[in-house]
Amino acid sequence: MPDHPGLTFPQPPARPGESPDFSLIDIPPAGALDLPPLDLDAEASTPYAQGLVRVLDDKGAAVGPWADYLADVGADVLMRGLFDMLTMRAVDRRLLNAQRQGKTPFYLQCTGEEAIGCAFQRQLGKGDMNFPTYRQQSLLVAADYPLQALMGQIYSNDCDPTEGRQLAIMHSSREYGFFSISGNLGTQFVQAVGWAMANALSGSDRIAAGWIGDGATASNDFHSALLSASVYQPPVIFNIVNNQWAISTYTGVAAGASRTYAQRALGYGIPALRVDGNDYLAVAAVSRWAIARARAGLGPVAIEWFTYRVAAHSTSDDPSAYRPKAEAEAWPLGDPVERLKHFLVGRGLWSDEQHAQKEAEILDSVIEIQKEVEARGTFLDPRPASPAKMFDGVYAEMPPHLWRQRQELGY
């Protein structure tokens, strides 16, 4: 016994120069968890909050009750899922490249996390609203958001629907169910509750989906959101993307003594599930279930998507300073694109040759759109909207003091 109480300072299992170590992560077999009833309550969801819903097994087969739940999903839908992810990856790579060339001051990839946004979005309906973080561009890609607008935002040119107001990646599209990203952490998780409450109050069956990273579950507003949803039971889905790293901070610093993030919801009486986020089929199945539940008026639900942030936090970050270089390759749940491809090949729906060809085609079409968008201005050749636009939208109507300032600016 120490002579006085001490403190704990969580540390990751491996640092640069050491071998990646995921031995503490328990990966249960695919297909081990049943499909729960839609009216699952918090207590009964405990095995889901502590376990891991997996559909694709290590051999690339879809197994278990959650796979059966997707039995009516056609091959075309799964192929589209693969193409969504390939498109997302191509867009990310091209825009990262653009940042390296100085064409945008900033970019941020979602590499390794493509399945989560891509599969979730394809289960949503028109009029549903996401409250994303800055790493959910995959929602836009899978919503068939025009890549011209997506890339235009990165270059702040006239393809940017928000006319250069925000930092790259802070998209906004009301039409495509993508709430305006503020860039602050956690703040928008609780706004999803309010949006869902407004839907319910106005007699709509549309739902809201909040998004948050593992790091930002530490924010006040994460807890505000769970509490508010616990009280009013609105049709909201809480998506917690646990990608293991909050910039340089190991996920254990946000988790503390909790085993999973999903479990946090149980204390608020909100059922929760933990899901293999690198398994497109698991994401699709659980998203479908959760969305059906919310739309049926059965209240909020929380999902922890278990994944790994393969890329740097952003182009301003260098992860080799704080985590082992080979950690991404050592991630025990693999790569979402490879896993879905493996499954489709195994089912005889796809081949390595077709995949390579499709990947090249998608890359070509992304490059073609990128060239077209870059021709309208980049950070190297800035063609922003008129600076006078900065006064537009501060209020619905411009008050006199802003008119005076606009004139002082020369407009």
Partner: protein, 337 residues
Amino acid sequence: MPKMTMIEAIRDAMDVKLAEDASVLVFGEDVGYFGGVFRCTAGLQKKYGVERVFDTPINESAIVGMAVGMAAQGMRPCVEIQFADYVYPAYDQITQEAARLRHRSNHQFSCPLVVRMPTGGGIFGGQTHSQSPEALFTHVAGLKVVVPATPHDAKGLLIAAIEDPDPVIFLEPKRLYNGPFDGNHEAKATGWTSHPDGEVPEGRYVIEIGKAAIRRPGRDVTVLAYGTMVFVAEAAVRACGIDAEIIDLRSLLPLDLDTIAASVAKTGRCIVVHEATRTSGFGAEVIAEIQEACFWSLRSPIQRVTGWDAPYPLAAEWDYFPSPARIARALLKAMED
């Protein structure tokens, strides 16, 4: 004398205090192993251990709230908020807790803590990485608010802040971290090593909180600025060829009214420059003080050059950031009879 960037000077201040005072603690988001997203705490965890320099969850009110409890119980926390734009969840802890603890307990408890945060624009950060929220803190009784403009001042002021018996908001102009910046964004960036203000003494020294610095003595007009705007104002004055007296306020609260009033009494003209939005900005407070102290010495209306009253835009950054040209126009206006 060693040359340092502002980042190195800030790190050196914490290093000095961590070494000589076991009650000093440093923590915040990414500040431990990694050493902060701007590297201000790099190497400190390795040197002083995880119990004195550590990473926190992403919760600013927890960072400051813990610091309040620690400070009240005899520690001297020097915490980092990753960007000033992220401080708002901690606003309650800062304004209603840290700022008032000494007063409401009639000195039973006190709160000697420092909240460091990078502030200001000019780095293509958009609206959540560019704000200058100093006026939100200068409006609060019980806080001290400091903004260094040079590595030399940053180190001396940060040591003074850590040693101060009351809570200090320490705003670090991030555009000045690696070198002075005069507002000419198309020019090649220069580092602190080639600048005289990059000379930073070794060991402990303090710059007294509450004392402004006269950067350039002059007779014709007083220019009041702080943070990045000190260098932008210097560039504007050079371009105009006006014999301006440039004062770096350094400490906004308490404000060095003696130095300001003596200067304005001499010149009879004044302009105030800051990056923050105009309405209810700190410039308004300074101007109110000056007109009370120097009304009969003033020969022209006091001019104000500030950020516009709009959220900080990304693409239009250089139309928002107060430019040397805008400051020059204000100088010429102040010079009119």
